[in-house]
């Protein structure tokens, strides 16, 4: 893949040592693209905000480079590999200047995927012609906006599944081609991008986006019959038969964990916090039902707009409610901001949290300290030790490298959905959308998460496991 490098230089009056020491130092929050980094060491999580103002109008709100430090040499070099909104590498070179200050050089390396993302944001939408020689599958994902945090590994896992399918001869004699479009965590944009995927001949669309965006994508495929699969954790709901809602359900998540948490903490008063859209609204109805069923009591509930960064008032409200248990259905960057503030404010000393969407990528960004002890319930964790998952982990690291983001239930579900779709297409022998969809309503397979089985368009059975966050990942609560 061809790479491109853009380089910018800057003279700074401070010495290389002083300038280097500002990186990730909270006292200088504005230093270079508002960098956020708890500690400077290889593997440490890094977030850089792309500038707003007139540039921001083209970038949209909340565009961050999400990555980690790959290498550093004190006072000389910091190298960041990033995965969102495009895979690339950012190098910061610190050199002493003759005047006693620093010559800072920033170089950004990107490939065609990065150029395509930037061109799209500048209004150069890709004109991908329909190509009958390939079997196209669309991935609608969030490369920017709050959802970019949880969607980070989805494109990589989708790539692995396509590679696997093509190694087995493709579908109906044609190689599979994956087209990836960014919804920017926005439902109107999701509708537009899903329509673009359909227009370029995608035979199916996999959505790793918020529920709000998924509703946008549904509008785009309503009259086309194109299978649209939502494999991630979601609140459920009825839809057309070619719209498939798989993934964990909040009722099952809270039912799996609530009783255990109440026994462990000898507490029963719960507070629900979520984002103000369909996912959290549905999740909170389910959570209230599960908590009631487990003998708990609901003492408060709050929804905040997607994109919230300050949870001070919510935390005050939780304190006033005397809740000692919290269900958080916040997603992506919002979940990161809430958990970090709940920890730094001291709320976590008095409250346990059950987080419905804090998977491995989100946990990393919450940080080891702030995430430790948070409860979760998913059908998949990267640490699962089954042979199929070990093989997946190995191939993932071999393909995408040591610094690639962790696999999570959300990203693994994308891998799984593409394989299940491929199985249905092969079994259908070219009988068309309706037959493929019929097969997807009754599929059963053994996947890295274990056995999964669908029953109709909106139900997928899978075993949920309760786990708690520990530094570096999750530990299963039931061993």
């Amino acid at each position: 893949m061809q790479t491109t490098v853009a380089i910018v230089d800057q003279q700074l009056a401070a010495s290389p040592h002083e300038t280097f020491s500002l990186f990730g130092n909270g006292r200088q929050a504005g230093w270079l693209l508002d960098v956020e980094c708890d500690v400077v060491r290889p593997g440490a999580i890094v977030s850089l905000r792309l500038p707003g103002d007139e540039l921001g109008q083209q970038l949209g709100n909340g565009v961050h480079l999400l990555g980690r430090i790959a290498k550093y040499v004190p006072a000389q070099l910091i190298e960041i590999v990033h995965d969102q909104p495009w895979p690339g590498r950012l190098r910061l070179h610190f050199k002493p200047s003759p005047t006693g200050g620093t010559h800072l050089r920033v170089s950004a390396q990107l490939d065609e995927r990065g150029l395509a993302w930037l061109m799209d944001r500048r209004g150069w939408a890709p004109h991908t012609a329909v190509d009958d020689s390939v079997h196209r599958i669309g991935l609608l994902t969030s490369k920017s906006g709050p959802g970019a945090v949880f969607a980070v590994a989805c494109e990589y896992l989708a790539g692995l599944s396509v590679e696997e399918i093509n190694a087995e001869g493709g579908l109906n004699g044609k190689p599979v081609e994956l087209l990836v479009h960014d919804d920017a965590t926005d439902s109107a944009r999701a509708e537009l991008e899903a329509a673009r995927l359909v227009a370029t001949g995608c035979q199916a669309i996999i959505a790793s986006v918020t529920s709000a965006s998924f509703e946008g994508a549904q509008r785009a495929v309503r009259r086309t019959g194109t299978p649209l699969i939502y494999p991630l954790v979601n609140e459920g709901g009825h839809a057309d038969s070619h719209v498939l809602r798989w993934g964990e359900r909040p009722l099952d998540q809270v039912s799996a964990a609530a009783g255990r948490i109440m026994r462990d903490t000898d507490s029963r008063q719960w507070y629900l916090i979520g984002n103000d859209y369909s996912w959290s609204h549905g999740a909170h109805i389910a959570a209230a039902q599960a908590i009631g069923g487990a003998g708990g009591q609901l003492v408060g509930s709050r929804f905040t707009p997607l994109g919230t960064t300050d949870f001070g008032r919510v935390i005050d409200d939780i304190r006033r409610s005397n809740a000692s248990l919290i269900v958080s259905s916040l997603v992506g960057a919002d979940e990161v901001a809430f958990e970090r503030e709940a920890w730094s404010s001291g709320l976590r000393r008095h409250c346990e949290v059950l987080a419905l969407s804090m998977e491995e990528s989100t946990r990393e960004r919450v940080g080891d300290d702030a995430s430790a002890g948070i409860w979760t319930a998913f059908g998949y964790y990267e640490t699962f030790d089954g042979e199929i998952n070990k093989d997946l982990r190995q191939r993932y690291r071999h393909t995408y490298g040591h610094w690639a983001p962790p696999i999570s239930s959300l990203s693994e579900s994308v891998y799984e959905a593409i394989l299940l779709y491929a199985g249905a297409v092969r079994a259908s022998h070219g009988k068309g959308y309706a037959d493929v969809v019929r097969r997807l309503h009754q599929v059963r397979a053994v996947m890295p998460r274990g056995t999964v089985a669908t029953a109709g368009p909106t139900s997928m059975a899978q075993k949920l496991r309760v786990a708690r966050a520990i530094p570096g990942g999750f530990r299963l609560a039931d061993g």
């Binding site: 910018v8 003279q11 504005g30 061109m119």
Partner: protein, 120 residues
């Protein structure tokens, strides 16, 4: 020396030139007269002037045939534009860096973006 991407970014700071470029992207090869009719509120002379700027920085190609001149988007136009955009993002970040450390040192001239430096 100013880079091609920098020239392109400066050229596209003007909304009329951006509208012209988008028109060319949608319509293929057209005359200046067609552009003038399509882009609201811009006269023929002004369009010619904008096209000269776009051509100089490599975003647009010009072809003469008889008494007519035809214009089309350069194949490298969108790539140049995207690189210029990235360049400006980095530069804005660097200016923030200078402000954050309390520097008053002016931003140095940008380096040439190195397109397609290597293949991997």
């Amino acid at each position: 020396m100013r880079s091609a991407a920098q020239e392109a970014f400066d050229a596209l700071a003007d909304p009329t030139r951006r509208a012209i470029l988008l028109h060319l992207a949608n319509r293929g090869e057209v005359t200046a007269g067609t552009i003038s009719e399509a882009v609201d509120g811009v006269g023929r002379t002004a369009v010619s002037s904008h096209l000269r700027v776009l051509r100089t920085c490599g975003l647009v190609n010009e072809r003469k045939q008889g008494r007519h001149r035809y214009y089309e988007l350069s194949a490298d136009g969108p790539v140049l534009d995207a690189l210029a955009f990235l360049h400006s993002i980095l530069r804005a970040g660097m200016e923030d860096a200078a402000a954050a450390v309390g520097d008053r040192v002016p931003v140095s001239p940008p380096e040439e973006p190195r397109a397609r430096e290597n293949a991997s």
